[in-house]
């Protein structure tokens, strides 16, 4: 009935303009309008000023170490090793996930020539293991990862996912009121500036 309903959003607006939650059509997305309206008047949480001089230790909220290999026994031994290391170095290991293995299969002819009746099945399996750590500083992470990577067995691949914590830069404050509530002349100049930026970029 109105432009704000989900159906109208999809059919009247272009795909890029449709809010993401409206595209998903779950029962949550139907209340997007109400939620967005409530969020429009949400007051910003006051930001404490944190001194983080350059060169200070990084802070990792989460560290995900995923290892992949063809031999599950090797990965299990590696898990025992990593568990011991994390207790020794006082690193918080949250859990160890075992995603299901991935198998790649081929069915190929057994013979070089003819003999179409006889085939062979081949497969390659990749086993996964994921170690999840939390609340680890940069130097601890570097030490732990270097030790653990030096002792990575042959033929094992590792992917490290780091989630670092940072604060906003100091310049991200609302511009002064005289600028935001400006007359048409200043808004014209800003639109000129933005068009200039677009030309130069």
């Amino acid at each position: 009935m109105l432009a704000r309903t989900v159906v109208n959003q999809i059919f009247l607006l272009k795909t890029s303009q449709i809010p993401f939650s409206a595209l998903s059509l779950t029962c949550r997305s139907i209340t997007t309008a109400a939620r967005l309206k409530k969020q429009l008047n949400v007051a910003a949480t006051p930001r404490p000023h944190i001194e983080r001089p350059s060169g200070s230790d990084e802070l990792y909220k989460r560290l995900g170490v995923e290892v992949r290999g063809h031999d599950p026994a090797v990965l299990e031994s590696y898990e025992r090793f990593v568990r011991l290391v994390s207790t020794e170095l006082a690193v918080q290991l949250v859990n160890v996930e075992n995603p299901p293995f991935f198998t790649e299969r081929w069915t190929l002819l057994r013979s070089k020539f003819a003999k179409k009746k006889y085939w062979r099945e081949y497969e390659i399996r990749t086993y996964y293991k994921k170690f999840n750590f939390k609340h680890i500083t940069g130097s601890t992470a570097d030490t732990f990862l270097e030790y653990v990577q030096r002792n990575l067995p042959e033929g094992i691949m590792m992917i490290v996912e780091r989630v670092r914590l940072e604060s906003f830069r100091d310049n991200l404050v609302p511009p002064t009121s005289s600028f935001s509530s400006s007359s048409t002349t200043t808004t014209k100049t800003t639109s000129e500036k933005t068009s200039q930026e677009q030309d130069t970029s």
Binding site: F81, D142, V160, R164
Partner: protein, 344 residues
């Protein structure tokens, strides 16, 4: 590493003259008898008919006498970290365990017995962890523990982390056993934060969300910026910071054409600007005795309570959409009826 296990005594007799045999002066002549004399025949190639002495039987290779394996002389309370300090291939003479590996199909293979570790190629092929026993790990960690730093106590929960340091930056590193150490996937940088951490007014927040588009998740009020345009991670990080700054300041600007916003573009239903209010005023004015002398504010104040209820119910109908549609429409119906003093 101590050399005691060698148990050899190397002493050089310094007071004797040492005769060092050099290759230029063989002890006895190795040339054939026909060649011995002042002038030797020039022989550039070896002739096949020439034979040195009698024909000898094929010499069977003499195997060096190998001492018994080392593990027989090991004590049970030895320090294994000294025996196997680094990662090496499996050495059956050093490992004091009776390890077997292999499948024996029938009594004909290896007399039906399990395959022992002596000359077992399969045991040599697989990676072993003899260099990473608990004692090894304790020693190594004790040595590198000094390079670790403690986590600050104030950041003990997710909420505390969000409060002090709101942005989460995700990066990946890849470690393969390939000839190249590069992996182009490592250039990707992802920024994540909640919009409540930034200061907005109503217009700025709405504009920010519209500009962000699919990058904003309304369920968790999170903005995600993924930067992978540039070849290096630092460049992508800088680009993401620039994007964030640009987005923020653009959302605070009010352009000329934003004034042309119609009711269809409203982010929320504002009853005060809506045609519903205008219509209501017309109706209420018309119901008064002297329509021209009546002020709009006083008309609304007159029926303040009912107008407020009507306003609330119509706003709920417009905003909540299909969620409580039936209930909202019912409330709306009742409020309209009470406002105009009608009875069904």
């Amino acid at each position: 590493m101590s050399l005691l296990y060698l148990r050899l005594q190397l002493t050089l007799p310094s007071h004797h003259l040492l005769f060092v045999r050099t290759f230029r002066q063989p002890q006895r002549s190795t040339e054939p008898k026909s060649q011995i004399g002042e002038f030797r025949l020039l022989q550039l190639t070896k002739s096949k008919t020439n034979r040195n002495g009698s024909m000898k039987k094929r010499i069977r290779p003499k195997f060096k006498e190998v001492p018994p394996p080392r593990y027989l002389r090991m004590s049970t309370d030895q320090d294994w970290t000294n025996v196997w300090p680094t990662a090496t291939t499996f050495k059956q003479s050093v490992v004091p365990l009776p390890i077997t590996q292999g499948y024996v199909a029938s009594d004909k293979e290896n007399k039906g017995l399990p395959l022992e570790k002596y000359a077992n190629a399969e045991l040599m092929k697989i990676p072993n962890f003899f260099h990473l026993t608990p004692n090894h790990i304790k020693k190594h960690c004790a040595a590198i523990k000094k390079y670790c730093t403690p986590w600050p106590e104030q950041l003990d929960s997710d909420e505390a982390c969000e409060y002090y340091l709101p942005i989460q930056i995700t990066t990946h590193d890849y470690l393969n056993s390939t000839p190249s150490i590069r992996d182009s996937r490592a250039r990707v940088v992802k920024f994540n934060f909640k919009l409540t951490q930034l200061q907005f007014d109503e217009h700025a927040r709405d504009k920010f969300i519209r500009l962000a588009g699919q990058r904003y998740n309304a369920d968790t009020d999170e903005l995600t910026l993924v930067a992978d345009k540039c070849p290096y991670r630092k460049q992508n990080y800088d680009y993401a910071q620039y994007l964030l700054t640009a987005l923020y300041f653009e959302s605070w600007k009010i352009e000329n054409w934003e004034v042309d916003k119609t009711k269809n573009d409203w982010q929320a239903y504002y009853w005060d600007k809506s045609p519903s209010r205008a219509r209501l005023l017309d109706i209420l004015k018309a119901s008064e005795q002297n329509p021209s002398s009546v002020d709009s504010n006083s008309v609304l104040d007159h029926n303040k309570k009912l107008v407020e209820r009507y306003r609330a119910s119509i706003t709920r109908v417009q905003d909540e959409g299909a969620e409580n549609e039936l209930k909202n429409l019912n409330d709306y119906k009742n409020d309209v009826l009470s406002l105009y003093n009608l009875k069904l």
